[in-house]
Structures are given as structure tokens and as C-alpha cells.
Amino acid sequence: MKLGIPKLDKLLGDIKPGALILISTVGDLGISIVIQALKKNSGGKVILVTSRLEKQLKRVPGLENSKYLTLGKDFGPQELFRVTHLMKELPHQQLIGVLFLQPLLIFHPPITVYRFLLELADIAISHDFVLVTIIDKRLIDDRTLAMFEELSTYVIDIIEVLEGFHIKRGIRIKKSPNNITGFYTLDVKNGNADIGEPLE
């Protein structure tokens, strides 16, 4: 499978079913990568979102036919088991965008969120899903981030560096069965992620 962002796909190589792709980021940076991947994917796609984000995504062209599993409307945060239960009933070979780890980390201790993601990762393997998720690394400590990274097949690391009044954004492949990379420039224009040249 490809994410639909040529430069990133080249860096990642072919993504096999059962993979968990973790985008370790700052804020919402990187969500455009997930959205682009979902839009480009012609097969089944499911998005795990908060109800607020669901409203936004439903207006995005290309995501109208996605299936949404919504946290906070259909499921309370205490009912994460219903998400895993529904996931197991989905047809195999879906692309799953998990976009609610951030609010989960606010509502729940990191170990709870880790156990939840671990369960999702197991379901991905048994159902040939590809999971793409983003996590704001400011919400967790290094140890917890290491746990999430260990769980993932791929880790895409996004950083933001302030140089005077200039913001420089970088992206790298931190973990992959294929190869890891150094940082490349990252720009987000009109909701699309654009990966440029290697950063010195």
C-alpha cells in the first residue's frame, strides 16, 4: 500500500497489511498525511475520530464515503471496547485512520491509551488492516513515546524548530522495516503535505 504522497511513499517503501504507522508530531501537523492517504486509498477506509473532527472531515472531498467510528458521540471514552469490537467486525484489508489518540491522552492515563493502541495493532494484524495514527509527543513523556514507537511498524517523526521568527518543519522516517532516514523539509499547503529536500 502507498500513502499517496510520492516522496513519503518513496521513503517508506511498500507498506504491508497489518502495519501500524505512527506519526509522532506536534499538534495537528501530520494529520494532512493521514487525510491524504485516506483520500488516495480506493479501498475500504475507516476513520476513528472525535465528533468534532468528524464534522470537519465529512466536508473534505474524497472522504464522503468513509466509515466513521466516533468517540464522544457513539462511544464514551469509557467504552473503548466498543471501538475494538466494531473494528473486529469490519471487512479485512481496510485503511484505518486513528485520529483520536490526542483526546484519549487527555482523558485517560497513557497506559490505557497504549493498551488500546496495542489492541488496535493486534486487530490490524489479524484483519490485514493498515493503521495510520498521529500522536502529539508533547502529551507524553519519552518513555511512553518509546512504548508507542515500539508498538509501531513505521514511525514518521515530525518536528518544528523555531529559528528567530522563522519556523522550520522537518519530517523523517524514524522506524521502518525498510530503511530509516534523516530529516527532510515539510510544508503544508492547502491541506497537503509537501516533503522537500533533506535538511542539513
Binding site: E79, L80, F81
Partner: protein, 236 residues
């Protein structure tokens, strides 16, 4: 060893195939946790298979039980289901033949004798007493209660029926030691929301799922998610 369904598919999975028939089981849980509903699933599963099922309510009036359980879709008027009201409500005094409610307060033997008579008249393969706690309250004497409870257990066992007794979760009594299996209903509250968990703490003669699994009470009754986990942090 043969198994019988408890009437809740997810719980049957947790029991690794269902209950072992002819034994006594305890369902423990706080108020509103679904003890009665779970018990009714067990009885109606028997009714569905053409068995006779006996429900003895010691706390909630039978009329309320019928109304409440009917809302879950249980056919509480089915001729194979007998509901006995053993509660001290209204003007009713006779609860089992000529046995009066107040006599329970004097002797638990009366209840046993009454049930014996019922079992002589008709064959019931599934029996629920809900809650057994009430009997303890009535007897108000631990030694007497233990003695009569043992007698009670032996009486029921000798009739080859499978029995479910319900009791409140904060109690640990002789019932727990004598029962062949204990199913517990747990409630966790976080940020004003309730998460329900079901666990098996004892099941003689069988392996079982040792993890507490989530369950919900829906308009179809109790649903157990035997493949799912309760996602809770280490502080629990």
C-alpha cells in the same frame, strides 16, 4: 462433561462452553448491575429449549419483574417459566402452596420444603433464587443460615437442576464457598460514566476466562463482549 448455555453468548465463551449442569452458581453484583436480567437470560434459554424454568423472587415483586424483563423481550408469560413471588408485598401471604411469607422469617426449612413440593409436581431444570441475600436477612443468624443453606443446596442438587443464586457484591458468605461457580458483575465509574465489567472468579471442573470483560445492558438484555478488554489505567 456436558455444558448448558447461560443464555448470553459472550458469557458462554468466558465459561469455555457454558455452565456445567446440575450445579449451583452464584451471580454477585451491586444494585442495577443486571443480576436479575442475567438470571432471566439463563432461565429463558432453558425455556427456549423446552425445559422447565423456575424463578423465585425474594425482593422485587413478581409483577415488577415481569414488566421489567418483558421490556428486554423475554416472554415472561411462557408456560414453561414459573415465577414465584416470595416478597413481602401487598396483602399476599401465601407464596408456596400453603406456606406463608412470614414463616420464612421463622424457618428457612419452609422455603426448602416449598421448593421440594414444587419440584415434585413439575420438573424444572433451571432454577433462580433472586436474591439469596434476602434469606440471610430474614434468618438473621449466621450459624442457622449456614446450616439451612447447606440443606438447601443439597435439596436442590438432588433434583439435578442447575441453580443460580444472586447476591449483593459486597458480601462474602458461605454461598461463595459452596457454589460451584461465581460470576461477578463490577462497576467502574470514571468522570461520571459507568463502565461495567463481568468476571468469573470461580468455576469448579472447568477452565474459564480469567479476565474481566466489558458488558452492557441493552434493550435486548445483557451483552458480554468476551473478546474485548476493559481499557483502564494502572490506577485501577
Amino acid at each position: 462433561m456436558g455444558r448448558i448455555s447461560i443464555g448470553v453468548p459472550g458469557l458462554d465463551k468466558m465459561l469455555h462452553g457454558g455452565l456445567i449442569p446440575g450445579r449451583i452458581y452464584l451471580v454477585k453484583g451491586g444494585p442495577g448491575m443486571g443480576k436479575t436480567t442475567l438470571s432471566m437470560h439463563f432461565l429463558m434459554e432453558g425455556v427456549r429449549k423446552g425445559e422447565g424454568a423456575l424463578y423465585i423472587t425474594m425482593e422485587e415483586p413478581a409483577a415488577h419483574i415481569k414488566t421489567d424483563m418483558g421490556k428486554f423481550g423475554f416472554n415472561v408469560e411462557h408456560p414453561n417459566l414459573k415465577i414465584i413471588d416470595a416478597t413481602p408485598t401487598g396483602t399476599k401471604t401465601n407464596i408456596l402452596g400453603d406456606i406463608r411469607y412470614m414463616e420464612f422469617g421463622i424457618s428457612f426449612d419452609k422455603l426448602i420444603a416449598g421448593i421440594k413440593d414444587i419440584l415434585k409436581e413439575e420438573r424444572y431444570t433451571r432454577i433462580v433464587i433472586d436474591p439469596i441475600t434476602m434469606v440471610r436477612v430474614i434468618l438473621n443468624n449466621e450459624a442457622a443460615y449456614r446450616k439451612t443453606f447447606l440443606l438447601f443446596v443439597n435439596t436442590l442438587i438432588s433434583n439435578d437442576a442447575t441453580i443460580i443464586l444472586t447476591m449483593e457484591s459486597d458480601e462474602v458468605g458461605v454461598e461463595e464457598y459452596l457454589a460451584n461457580g461465581v460470576i461477578e458483575l463490577f462497576k467502574f465509574v470514571e468522570r461520571g460514566k459507568v463502565l461495567r465489567g463481568i468476571g468469573i472468579s470461580k468455576f469448579r471442573g472447568s477452565s474459564f476466562d480469567e479476565e474481566i470483560r466489558p458488558y452492557r445492558i441493552t434493550n435486548r438484555g445483557v451483552e458480554v463482549y468476551h473478546n474485548e478488554s476493559l481499557f483502564m489505567g494502572e490506577e485501577y
